[in-house]
């Protein structure tokens, strides 16, 4: 069996993996390898043909494939080795990565491993929609792949469940391709996607959005013939007597994303039940020494620009680890406090500046975000409106931190 030796193996050739690899190389780590299961690099950006990517990072609005190509070109120019059509099937605590492709199975002993596998969509099974199991039920990203990559239309009369960004973007895409999108239903009392997408993907095309509504039955024998929609209460329980039938041939689900961490678990990486990603410190190192995580595998981001930036920050630390074999010990715990759903990183060393990323649990008007340690306010930010759809980031400077005491972030 083949055994390679690498300084760093990057698992996943999407935006996180590409940015991490490029930055590792720029930090002088030459012996690196990207492993990508798809035929091409670029990850999910390949099918995100709408524009709006890169506004933060490049100051212009690019499509997903264009954004990805900038990184792919740079990786090629730097001579970074990438294996595509290759699936990683195991990672050990000792950082032996096992992968398989048409040439067979091989192992890579690496000094550092970068987890950049991204996330996947929640499915019908995960949200338990009752009813029949006909054809015509797609996750939004699957429908996006059919239409944008495979030239296959998924349906004509569409109902969308969930107001995630991909669902709304697909509402517009399907409308442009001649389908009739009847409505978007959202169980929560507020939209889960960005306000600009409600505006430019739904309102522009006259597609209604019903909040506090969910699909309670799927009808149809061979193909979807319609769905029953009910109003839900604040505990998401359907309210009797509010059922309404909507005829349609297709149901699209945009009901959330889950970091894809099966490989991380094989290595013994401990996950945070809030983010469903790894617990990491301010070096983006997981609980396993030398195994790092960034991007959507760590926590689901709102914008790809922030994925790239996070992966670059990871790379700086991973490069330090490869050269020195040790990173500052992180003993200060960061906890999400009132109205905060999660906070990343979950532990910090207090020795370097870091970016705290988090989301609020529900929309808050005139919101005050406070980062404090042992009663001392470290940072305070006022926002006109904080919504769960936006990831909030605050830069924390190390000289304001004390050792040992817990850091808490709250939003009121």
């Amino acid at each position: 069996m083949r055994l390679l030796n690498k300084d760093a193996v990057i698992i996943g050739g999407g935006p996180a993996g590409l940015a991490a690899a490029i930055q590792l190389k720029k930090n002088g780590i030459d012996n690196i390898l990207i492993i990508e299961r798809e035929k091409n690099l670029g990850g999910i950006l390949r099918q995100c043909i709408h524009d709006g990517f890169g506004l933060t990072r490049f100051g212009k609005s690019l499509s997903g494939p264009e954004y990805a190509q900038i990184f792919i070109d740079e990786a090629n120019d730097l001579g970074i080795e990438a294996l595509t059509d290759t699936s990683v099937i195991n990672i050990t605590y000792g950082k032996v990565v096992t992968a398989v492709n048409r040439g067979g199975i091989f192992h890579v002993q690496s000094k550092a491993v970068v987890l950049a596998m991204g996330c996947r969509e929640r499915t019908r099974g995960a949200i338990n929609i009752p009813g029949a199991r006909p054809a015509g039920i797609y996750n939004a990203g699957v429908a996006q792949s059919y239409i944008n990559l495979h030239n296959t239309m998924v349906g004509r009369e569409i109902v969308i469940l969930g107001s995630g960004d991909i669902g709304m973007i697909m509402a517009r895409r399907l409308t442009l391709e001649g389908a009739h999108v009847k409505a978007v239903f959202e169980a929560q009392a507020y939209p889960s996607g960005l306000p600009r997408n409600i505006e430019q993907c739904l309102n522009d095309y006259g597609i209604p959005l019903y909040l506090s509504h969910t699909v309670t039955k799927i009808c149809g024998r061979r193909r979807v013939e319609g769905v029953v929609v009910s109003r839900v209460d604040s505990a998401f329980s359907p309210i009797d007597g509010t059922e309404k039938f909507f005829s349609c041939d297709t149901l699209i689900l945009s009901v959330g994303l889950i970091p894809e961490n099966e490989l991380s678990l094989m290595a013994g990486v401990e996950l945070d039940r809030r983010t469903r990603g790894a617990y990491v410190n301010d070096s983006f190192e997981t609980g396993c020494s030398g195994i790092f995580a960034a991007g959507n595998v760590l926590h689901v981001h709102d914008l790809v620009d922030f994925v790239s930036i996070e992966a670059e920050e990871l790379a700086a630390s991973a490069a330090e680890y490869v050269s020195s074999d040790c990173l500052p010990k992180a003993s200060i715990v960061v906890v999400p406090g009132r109205n905060v759903g999660y906070a990343v990183p979950q532990r910090v060393s207090g020795e370097k500046n870091f970016t705290l990323s988090f989301r609020v649990k529900q929309p808050i008007e005139n919101c005050k975000v406070t980062v404090s340690q042992g009663g001392n306010v470290i940072s305070e930010v006022k926002m006109r409106k904080a919504i769960p759809a936006n990831m909030i980031q605050i830069k924390i400077s190390a000289d304001r931190l004390e050792s040992g005491k817990e850091i808490e972030v709250t939003a009121v």
Binding site: P195, R196, Q200, D204
Partner: protein, 123 residues
């Protein structure tokens, strides 16, 4: 006349209030001047960009994604979609390749946003 609008220029999605007073537009709530420009256009002639795809013959992929390089009047979107649908390209195609210039006279070009190489011959 007063209206609420959400800026779509960037992901911040500023919630703005706009009102026409003595024939002049006043705007509150925007965080940058692009919001102001957006509000002005929204009240006179709403503009949008769109992205879609075109067929590629003999390509490694059946489609190449395209987008408009400038916003166009909202009411022209479906006319433009019809024009784009009629396009067929021959592989290879490259990012930045213009497939339609000044589409529907709207002052915007339709440009390819993904490199699609020629299909490998089957052995």
């Amino acid at each position: 006349m007063t209206g609420q609008l959400i800026c779509i220029v960037c992901p911040a999605g500023c919630e703005m209030t706009a009102c026409i007073k003595d024939g002049k537009l006043e705007v509150w709530g925007e965080k940058c001047k692009r919001g102001l420009e957006y509000a002005e256009r929204e009240f006179t002639n709403p503009m949008r960009t769109i992205a879609t795809s075109v067929l590629v013959d003999n390509g490694e992929l059946p489609l190449a994604p395209v987008r408009l390089d400038n916003p166009v009047p909202k009411k022209q979107i479906f006319n433009i979609m019809r024009e784009i649908k009629a396009v067929r390209l021959e592989a290879p195609v490259h990012i930045g390749q213009i497939v339609l210039s000044d589409v529907c006279g709207c002052g915007s070009d339709v440009v390819v946003t993904k490199n699609v190489g020629r299909a490998q011959p089957r052995l």
